[in-house]
Symmetry: C2
Subunit: 246 residues, 2 copies
């Protein structure tokens, strides 16, 4: 059996997210598995580095799958380009050792979130950002972002129900930059809980708008209560940029 | 009667172009006229600076219309934001002298064209560029672009049937820059014939790929035969950027 690592870009607008559901036609994983079945005849499961929600995008999602297919990776890649819909692009294929597992071996991830921060909405960014028309205090957001960095229990910044799994994560870096009318957030860390990036952005936006004080960050870390943090920002502003492996 | 000048951004992907046809729901002009009718009760015709083809986009299309509406421009603008589809955004409204005519008074236009110039297609640029995977000689294209600038009879670079109207136009500047995997062309001139920008890009691409020699530009100017020029590039790479007025 060969173990193939794939790097995938997708526009999540039309999909119910990464993870295959009953109707495989509406998920990224399902679409890719169907094409692999067409090529190889095998019913295989591809393992993603993690899920992305409905409407969320990826620039370099990573997945792996095991196959008996004997053709070249170039042939496989051109089959993907030919038969996948244009909003899912397999960018790279690589043969990796049998032990490689796209989820278990992921050591870190980087996400981007975009706000269209202008009174006038954008026709072109409507699926790739969240329209936030009011002015935001970038300094206050950057101070709050510094408090979020480091190793903390992010339970209060997660949509997870109580579970026995650890909710401690390390955020290595957060950047917030203005690019024209867009505010571009990046989050780099060793892992993120369900909806954590969108809740972090929602919290930073409430701080930037003056609705929340910076010191509230500490309260959320201490109390671990979801309702103390900001709103979950809409999925369409979120991009999975990179997944790191050793 | 007030004369209102509008600046409009639109993603042309879902539309049959600017100009209203029988089915007004599938054109930009038709969509905007319907909203004006909802607001004012008037059946009016808006005058665009020019048409854009199906699939072509605009960052700052300009149009004007005459109305008896007495409300403020701010109210009108927020009505547009509320009721137009998200892929058509009225960015600015301005009251102008009665004699202002968006088409007759246009003194110049700037267009952009984007090629996604990488073997791997882009999920995000699929509606906003043309995927051209092969390498292009940028120097040769820039030399040819210089020959295209100035005042010439562009009949050979147009989809127009023979007509008595002048096909002489002046191109002030052409730029070709590489931005990551994208080649970005801009064309600034006093006016462009039907499909002229897309044919100019098609011609430059044939020169960049080595299929056509630079001196062919002179032949097309002399012979004015459409088939001597390059192919018409697909509409989705084209953006109307600016329309200039005195």
């Amino acid at each position: 059996m060969r173990n193939i690592k794939m790097t995938i870009e997708y526009d999540g607008t039309r999909y119910q997210g990464w993870q295959r559901l009953g109707n495989t036609d509406k998920t990224i994983q399902g679409k890719i598995e169907n094409i692999i079945k067409q090529l190889t005849g095998e019913t295989i499961e591809i393992i993603g580095s993690g899920r992305t929600d409905a409407g969320t995008h990826a620039r370099n999602q990573v997945a792996n799958f095991k196959t008996e297919y004997t053709g070249s990776l170039a042939e496989m890649l051109s089959f993907f380009h030919k038969y996948l819909p244009q909003d899912i692009v397999v960018k790279h294929l690589e043969e990796v050792p049998d032990r490689f597992h796209a989820r278990y071996n992921a050591k870190g991830k980087t996400y981007s979130y975009y706000l269209w921060n202008d009174p006038i909405p954008s026709a072109f960014k409507r699926h790739y950002s969240y329209h936030y028309p009011e002015t935001l205090n970038l300094d206050a957001m950057q101070q709050a972002a510094e408090l979020l960095c480091g190793t903390h229990d992010f339970a209060g910044f997660s949509a997870l129900k109580k579970s026995k799994k650890s909710t401690v994560r390390t955020i290595e870096a957060i950047t917030i930059t203005r690019e024209g009318h867009e505010l571009h957030f990046t989050f780099k860390g060793n892992g993120f809980l369900h909806k954590m990036v969108r809740i972090l952005v929602g919290t930073l936006v409430e701080i930037g708008s003056g609705q929340m004080k910076i010191k509230q960050i500490e309260t959320i870390f201490e109390q671990k209560i979801r309702s103390e943090a900001g709103e979950t920002m809409p999925a369409q502003g979120l991009f999975l940029d990179y997944v790191e492996y050793e």
